[in-house]
């Protein structure tokens, strides 16, 4: 099966300084890699979870895929075709949708829900004899009452607005859904509702979904594959269950271990990632994670690790990937002891 979306070595750089700076400075100004060497593929119908801390470039990756942010290097292939020109991106956007992090803010505030729901079809010139009826049908699909057609976005709760966002995103029957933190700001029961809704529609319509999140507990249940990002690079990818069972990258391991476990006996060891994610303006040398890695070795400080295969469907960017679950436990136990407690 050919992948729906393939990203090869995608990079996004932001240059500092404007035109005047560039004219005054003979030397090229330093540029900063917001994303670097991101290689990822999405199969039709699969759900992929894009996980990382704030500032790791998850949202930028999603926006770059759809052409809102210009890539400095790399390749995007959608449905077997290279996406290069604006026209290519436009064609791709017609077959994909994005859900933004803030459900209320992503709805135009002065338009009614009915107008907002049917706007995608109007823009893309699909005939619509009865806009109101079409909007009501979409509302029913996401479990909202038909009377919502006359409401304004600010009159909805976060969960209701999210449902409207789902309806709007899926109105065009896309092949790819990019969801940026679909559960942010919702309480747990509503999170469940929204995810179930997206899951049901996904089973019905068969679109692939890329879910950007830092909520591991959620992504564990909804995704087929995980891609872990750190400072604009992918550090690990693999099937969700395998990654959770035996993380290869120490960062993944610390992320997973830092999730609270609702069982006191299970907490035999825990070592949360300490400190903040470094700034992309001052990337650490060698392996980017060495400043925070509990298992850091001298080599990590000097030599950047390659992104390489580690098992059947796994990729990892680490000199010393964790081999087994037991080894991981030992290593972490040792690391926490060494820290002096």
């Amino acid at each position: 099966m050919t992948p729906l979306l393939e990203i090869e070595e995608l990079a996004v750089t932001f240059a500092r300084g404007g035109l005047i700076n560039r004219l005054l400075n003979p030397l090229p100004l330093p540029s900063f890699n917001i994303l670097d060497g991101v290689t990822l593929s999405v199969m039709p119908g699969e759900t992929i979870g894009l996980v990382g801390e704030s500032g790791s470039g998850k949202t930028t990756l999603a926006r770059t895929i759809l052409g809102l942010v210009r890539a400095a290097a790399g390749q995007i292939v959608f449905e077997g075709r290279d996406v290069v020109t604006q026209a290519d991106f436009r064609a791709m956007r017609r077959k994909s949708s994005m859900m933004f992090q803030d459900p209320v803010a992503s709805l135009s505030p002065r338009l009614r829900i009915g107008t907002l729901l049917t706007e995608p079809q109007i823009i893309q010139g699909r005939p619509m004899p009865d806009r109101r009826a079409a909007a009501k049908a979409l509302l029913a699909q996401v479990g909202l009452p038909a009377s919502f057609v006359d409401r304004f976005p600010h009159e909805l709760s976060g969960g209701q607005a999210r449902r409207v966002g789902v309806a709007r995103a899926l109105a065009m029957k896309p092949n790819l859904l990019l969801a940026d933190e679909p559960t942010a700001g919702l309480d747990v029961s509503v999170q469940g509702d929204v995810l179930n809704l997206v899951g049901e529609l996904q089973r019905e319509q068969g679109f692939a979904a890329m879910i950007v999140t830092h909520n591991l507990a959620m992504i564990r249940h909804v995704s087929d594959r995980l891609a872990i990002m750190y400072l604009g690079r992918l550090v690990e990818t693999g099937p969700t269950q395998e990654v959770f069972a035996a993380p290869k990258h120490p960062y993944t391991a610390t992320l997973i271990r830092s999730e609270p476990v609702p069982d006191p006996r299970q907490r035999s060891y825990h070592l949360a990632v300490s400190g903040e994610i470094p700034s992309v303006f001052r990337r650490p040398s060698g392996c980017e994670f060495h400043t925070r890695c509990p298992l850091v070795q001298p080599r990590c400080r000097l030599e950047p690790p390659a992104y390489r295969r580690a098992g059947a469907n796994r990729m990892v960017r680490c000199h010393y990937p964790l081999e087994t679950c037991d080894q991981e436990k030992e290593d972490f136990a040792r690391a926490s002891e060494n820290k002096g407690n």
Binding site: R63, L66, L68, R90, R93, R94, S97, M98, F100, Q101, D102, A105, S106, L107, S108, P109, R110, L111, E119, P120, I123, Q124, G143, L144, P145, S147, G159, Q160, R163, D193, N196, L197, E200
Partner: protein
Amino acid sequence: MSSVTEAPPSSLGRQRFAPLRALLADPFTGAALILVAGFLITAALAPWLAPYSPTKIDVLHKLQPPSAEHWFGTDHLGRDLLSRIVFGTRTALTIAMVSVVIAGAIGLLLGLIAGYGPRWLDALLVLTFDSLNSLPMIMFALAIITVLGAGTSTLIIVIAATSFPSYARLIRAQTLALKNSDYILAERLLDAGTVRIIFVHLLPNVVGPLIILLSMDIPVVIMVEAGLSFLGLGVRPPTPSWGSILYDGYTSIRSAPFMVIFGGFPLVLATLGFTFLGEGLRDYLDPRLKLRRPA
């Protein structure tokens, strides 16, 4: 599939007049609303309200003090002052509203283009706004009047040309703030055209502060019109205007002070009315800007 239960419909009857109620709740705004409504009615019904023709000259009865026949007296040509003031209201409001609406429309359009358009266009437009803003208004007015001649339409052109840059700057700032908001990005992802984004999605969200600014600028424009007419650069005689009434009154202030008093009174009232209405609108539409007014 779970569904969201519907909230009970709120009583619409009470909501319908809620904006008006909220505006009238403030005594200043309420009074201002009545004043402005009074001026609008006066302007609209001028031919029926004025007891005499505003331009009929009757030199035999010139400079007569207020009497039962001529409530506000007569001017130096014997024209009925009350009638001139009533028709002057029409002149003042027409010029003020037409020029403010024209300036507002130009400002809105250029501000949206500058804010949402490419950067070079933005830079060019901002340069234009700043250059126009830097011209002293009276000098600019004199130049335009020299070229086009004094008159109502010249006045409107002068006022519109000098006031649209500040509206455009306001709209540009608003647009820049919204340009990268989630819903505009979402629209771009839907492949909404630039025209659609500007008029359907940006315009309704930036226009609020402009309306407030426009209503607060109407008295300023009335003052400008009166000032230019006072200098003889405004509307042409015999068209009645508050400014020219003041000028005529000023020349005979010793023999007939009532002309200046009655001529200045509506100017003061209109300024107060529109200013307080603008402030009331601002407080109502944008509570964040609410300034604490001494109780």
